[in-house]
Subunit: 542 residues, 2 copies
């Protein structure tokens, strides 16, 4: 340990030790980048000085409602300025921000409000019915509702609640912030969207959010003054902490309420947006955009994608349109992305097509702020780096949650052995790059052979008529399981089951070829992930 | 404070809390950037895997010599690979690195070795006479000497000591590192080069060094894989922490033992170097390079300069050669640079010549990892932001030293009121940018008027024959003080006193014009700063 013989007088003091928090970024930006554009939405264009003042007003407005440090303030908001501002304002009055997914069912929202004990709830007018129904079902203390109208999007104020603007007007734009004294204080509460059981409340600390922003600057190769589009919902791991990061770079956050190809292309062409994160479904949306929605631009757009590897066909198509895709991986428990497929031009600069996609399909290596991300076997030993042996992704570092709210047993289980257990199965290549072969349940075992549903999906995505697909196991008397494909076609395209089967058979081994192909819209979770468990239910009954 | 009502089970654990240290960067780089070039010197080209192995060997070799955590390991080394490797290896065995300035006098080196209690000393063969003389004068325990020969530079091993290569050979290249358990542990000890009294031992913590590297990525607009040249000596604030930063970006450190125009141009042209830091004297060296030393290159070289504002003429000349200059400011007590003149193209994009130089003459605003850098008056209140009122630069943030070794009184004094007192006087512009008008002693008071020696020096630097200059006060019976200029001419150039005075008179008010101009080589400190106190002595007797 690096303690010297005599360290008299060398302790922490206010001059040399300040709690790490992303709040510092906006405090600094209000000085350094005062006149630069911080936030854009519809006709609103805020400079950093204005943004900082609005955040100060909001923090002070909440304070004046009797909300005190440690209180939870919840939101049911799409990616509009109020959501962005709440990310700074709630912690700036010592509160803990609980962003609730706007796509959840009433029952789950009731559960979250009761479990999280929110004292206030900022609700977009469009989602008032959801909030009102959820609150009506509550048995405990009900949160104070603050309505956030968005007239420009067709949602004017109902007149039934105090509004966001009332709150801003009540607050002092020069009110000082309540900065954390300890960087382990809580900054946010995010409920996981589990497919079974009640969601768990993931509590994040200021330190982790700060370090997440600094590590992301490195990984995303960000420089001063980036233009960023909010596609990842801010209620999803706080938008991977991107809006907390932007002030450190003097960047501009362009808000996107409704994710459409036209909105994305317009932001790129009109605002110069060059960075956003999004699920592969967003990449498909861009690739399959109608001609009238496309816009010309002459810069490269850097896209972080997560949730599933981009299919080779999608990757080839979108990269030729001027987008560079980097796959990242993470969970709500890790503030969002903690691994990235770092691109090494000296090794892969010449690769194209499927070879390039094969590399980009990897979840990659640890972000700079993470200490150790490993693939471990059941004895917590590293698996062979052979690109085949499976183990569980285990995560250790400063961008890992404090734990689950009011659930010390689940927290202890998640952190057993000194790592956060991701629950995701992966292998590790000889260069250390991690690759998720399949989430555990996504392996199809047919005649004793393991089939990767990801591989079969990759083959299907090469079909020119297919927009989106999912492959699951269908029980089979002879083989145990066989692959069954569910497919969404592109608008105006047609295909038949036998034609698709033949198409895949030309590319994959016979046992990997789907035995059935079902054409239907795929069920998705509130965060856009395909709900394979539902499809497994359908496949079972076919 | 952001503590929730119920935080049961939400404490720090090994999974979610790891001590911040730049050591983590190299640990990660050994995996992520294994095959990329990490270090270049003469014929040596190390990949990150090799670099990591050599660092592990060195750490283990030191361990095997009986050196234990908390021990101080000193170096008297120019910017060669051993110095770069020691920056990781000494902390990697829990030691504290004490880099000693190679230009110091024997007496001061004796003092440092006794005060710092170094148990080992790595010495470049060229500087063995200095080390031997300094050790001979010691009364306390003497350090073990390890000789670092550099045959390629004309300094083969003397055969009198164990060598660096012996130490590497004795260590295990796969030995695990001793990582800090607490980020407040000490990583380095740097003695200030005070002009009066004994130097003070500045103790740095792992946390500060880590955050310094992350903040510098943002400020220097660094992206993956930069090529960096070591011009700032690593014994000067650990080279502003740049070699600790490079692994987080997979960058290449190109070592430069002797700073010459040819060496700099060759590194830019042959290795693609695009980043270095250096004093304005280095900028002058580049501007005044002989034609045969110049090389063509087609990228922009980003230069951090500190110590004094670049003169407008120097700035104009060097920027037209393909270098972009950013002034930064800091002290040994702040790990190097903590303010930067962030360039805002929306405000200054159209500026040229003197207008551009006037902006770039500012020390600017806080680096991202710093909390608050202010100009305060004697009552610790902010001065008016009028670009004129002077106060002292006060610094608060995570890249501030732990304090002075075995000197709690000086530490307490330096941190009085919750800020580190820089001792530098400055004003603050209305946009928050800080500008050092003059170090306190650099103000010349003539007939009751304050004269900025920096301003007069700026005017002198426009003279085509002048290479370097310094202006100090000369006592005067009538005016109290008058400006007196000391000037170095460019090779082969000539000028007369009256001609130089006339030149300045055309540009500045009469009372600001030097009354005497002396042509001589300027005395410089071991870190390259001009020693004005010596010149004041000369001026007094003129």
């Amino acid at each position: 340990m690096g303690w010297m013989n005599d360290e008299t007088g060398l302790d922490r003091t206010p001059a040399n030790h300040v709690a790490l928090t992303p709040l510092s970024h906006l405090q600094r930006a209000a000085i350094v980048f005062a006149d630069r554009t911080a936030l854009v939405y519809q006709d609103l264009r805020l400079s950093y000085a204005q943004y900082h003042n609005r955040v100060s007003s909001l923090a002070d407005g909440l304070r004046k409602k009797g909300i005190t440090p440690g209180d939870v303030v919840a939101t049911i908001l799409p990616n509009i300025p109020a959501q962005v501002e709440a990310h700074f304002a709630v912690p700036a009055m010592g509160g803990v921000l609980n962003t609730i997914n706007i796509r959840l069912d009433t029952d789950t929202v009731t559960y979250i409000l009761e479990h999280g004990e929110a004292v206030a709830l900022l609700v977009d007018t469009q989602f008032l019915p959801l909030a009102e129904a959820a609150i009506a079902n509550m048995t405990g203390e009900k949160p104070r509702v603050i309505e956030v109208p968005d007239a420009g999007a067709g949602f004017p104020a109902t007149g039934r609640y105090e509004t966001y603007d009332d709150l801003l007007a009540a607050g002092d734009p020069n009110a000082p912030w309540t900065m954390p004294e300890d960087e382990w204080e809580s900054i946010s509460l995010n409920y996981t969207s589990g497919t079974t059981g009640r969601p768990k409340g993931v509590v994040a600390h200021h330190r982790g959010a700060y370090l997440m922003t600094m590590g992301t600057v490195v990984s995303w190769r960000l420089q001063l003054y980036p233009k960023y589009l909010t596609i990842v919902p801010l209620f999803h791991c706080n938008g991977w902490n991107h809006t907390w990061m932007m002030p450190v770079l003097g960047g501009t956050v362009v808000c996107c309420r409704d994710i459409t190809p036209a909105a994305i292309y317009d932001a790129i062409a009109d605002e110069g947006v060059a960075y956003f994160g999004g699920a592969p479904i967003v990449l498909n949306m861009i690739v399959n955009a109608k001609d009238e929605d496309r816009r010309d631009f002459d810069h490269t757009v850097e896209v972080f994608t997560a949730g599933a590897p981009p299919a080779p066909a999608t990757l080839a198509a979108i990269e030729s349109l001027g987008f560079n895709i980097t796959q990242v991986y993470g969970l709500t428990e890790t503030y969002g992305h903690v691994t990235e497929c770092v691109w090494d031009d000296t090794r892969w600069g010449e690769l194209n097509g499927a070879d390039r996609a094969n590399i980009k399909a990897r979840q990659g290596v640890a972000f700079p702020m993470m200490e150790d991300i490993a693939v471990l076997d059941g004895d917590m030993q590293p698996v062979n780096r052979d690109g085949a042996t499976q183990g569980e992704i285990m995560i250790r570092g400063n961008s890992v949650m404090k734990g689950y709210l009011k659930n010390p047993e689940a927290t202890a289980e998640a952190f057993a052995g000194g790592y956060f257990h991701s629950g995701d199965l992966a292998n590790q290549h000889d260069d250390g790059y991690i690759q998720i072969a399949d989430r555990a349940k996504d392996i199809i075992i047919s005649g004793g052979e393991n089939i990767s549903s990801v591989e079969v999906e990759g083959a299907l995505m090469n079909h020119p008529a297919i927009s989106l697909c999912a492959v699951v196991a269908k029980p089979d008397d002879k083989w145990g399981e066989v692959p069954c494909a569910f497919v969404e076609l592109k608008e105006g395209e047609t295909a038949t089951e036998s034609e698709v089967i033949t198409f895949v058979r030309e590319r994959l081994a016979g046992f990997k070829t789907p035995k059935r192909v079902i054409f239907q819209e795929l069920p998705k979770t509130s965060t856009g992930k395909i709900q394979k468990f539902e499809l497994r239910g359908v496949a079972k009954d076919l």
